[in-house]
């Protein structure tokens, strides 16, 4: 791991990704704050279904879009979600943590460069094993996870995934540069 040059093209590309995820996660935290107190308390549904269209239609822009995304991409179960200002967040705890982790991971990659090598396997294991164990054990009904565990496991996987996106951008740039050198 080494510090990254601030002016490089790759840094700019990673910064754009980071800013997109940062804005997205900020909007997720702002949405329940912007809506009237205790106006969104029950969004329970199923992943992939639009379950709360009526509630979303009553919201103003851009909060309706954010809750709409949450409705499509997440189950939004109230007992598995954080509440801000008495309102349920647009995504469940694990999803929110993943989005937040993605922003953190990409933010880290804006300043630091990680070389792709076998050591990255340890990071992948560190990121995926906790969420895998928590999810699978819960799936088989051996234990019921709680929001703190969901937050930690989601954050870990999000950070590692954000880092992986940064590494991929770096590697794609390296491949491009080596091809350019070969052709010239």
């Amino acid at each position: 791991m080494k510090r990254r040059k601030k002016s490089s093209k790759v840094t700019i590309v990673i910064s754009i990704f980071f800013l997109l995820f940062l804005v997205w996660i900020l909007l997720q935290f702002l949405a329940p704050l912007a809506l009237p107190y205790q106006s969104v308390t029950q969004l329970d549904g199923v992943t992939g279904f639009v379950d709360n269209q009526e509630q979303i239609d009553n919201m103003t822009m851009p909060w309706d879009s954010i809750y709409g995304c949450g409705d499509r991409l997440c189950h939004q179960k109230a007992d598995r979600s954080f509440f801000i200002n008495g309102n349920e967040m647009p995504f469940c705890t694990r999803c929110t943590a993943i989005w937040l982790g993605l922003a953190i991971g990409l933010g880290f990659m804006v300043f630091f460069k990680i070389e792709l090598n076998e050591k990255f396997i340890f990071l992948i294991i560190l990121g995926l094993v906790p969420i895998g164990v928590d999810g699978v054990v819960q799936l088989f009904g051996f234990w019921e996870s709680n929001n703190v565990v969901r937050l930690i496991t989601g954050l870990l996987v999000g950070i590692i995934c954000g880092m992986a996106i940064g590494v991929i951008i770096d590697e794609v740039n390296e491949i491009r540069l080596s091809r350019k050198t070969k052709s010239s």
């Binding site: 992943t47 279904f49 792709l116 090598n117 076998e118 992948i124 799936l139 009904g141």
Partner: protein, 194 residues
């Protein structure tokens, strides 16, 4: 100071005090040389003795085998694995974004397995995350480097479950292709930096 035209030769000297053996540069033709032992700092004069015996060389050991280098044959297996993993990534991401049908029907298929907890196999964010690891495997396969990373990431890509497990099947094939073509990957650990 060395004079022009003087020839320098190297000679072995043994200190009379500490018996330390060291090499000294001598001027050819000069019979006596004043020197200091580097070990005990003893000052002494060394007289040059020339051994007039002629030395003969003989062959030692087994005859050497001729080793010629040739270009290692490269198959298309890593490239095929790369293409398959690109498909896994595209299928995974499109499953997460577009395919409501997949998400609706998978839980019914899984419920037949009598699982008690929540069914998150159609969980779009998780599908996308597993697909990102397929991208890492793509980079490793394309560069034919980091075999371990390619294997681990293609294994993780199996869990992307893209479009009715087609993504998983393609990931398994890619995983096997990477494993079979492991000799074609450069192992970073074996490389030395000079």
């Amino acid at each position: 100071m060395k004079d022009k035209g003087e020839t320098q030769v190297k000679g072995k000297i043994i200190c009379p005090k500490c018996k330390n053996e060291f090499i000294l540069e001598l001027t050819e033709g000069k019979k006596v040389h004043d020197t200091i032992c580097p070990k005990c700092k003893n000052k002494f004069s060394a007289e040059v003795k020339c051994d007039s015996k002629e030395l003969d060389w003989e062959e030692y050991g087994e005859p050497r085998k001729t080793v010629l280098s040739c270009i290692k044959p490269r198959s298309n297996k890593p490239l095929i694995a790369t293409i398959l993993l690109v498909c896994v990534f595209v299928i995974g991401v499109s499953t997460a974004i577009f395919s409501d049908f997949f998400i609706k029907t998978t839980p019914y298929a899984i419920s037949a397995m009598d699982l008690k907890g929540d069914i998150n196999i159609g969980y779009p964010i998780i599908v996308v995350i597993f697909s990102v690891f397929a991208l890492l495997a793509i980079v490793a396969c394309f560069k034919r480097k980091h075999f371990g990373l390619a294997v681990v990431c293609s294994f993780i890509a199996i869990f992307s479950f893209g479009f009715f497990f087609i993504g998983s099947i393609l990931s398994i094939i890619a995983f096997l292709l990477i494993f079979v073509s492991r000799d074609e990957f450069k192992d970073e650990k074996k490389e030395k930096i000079f």
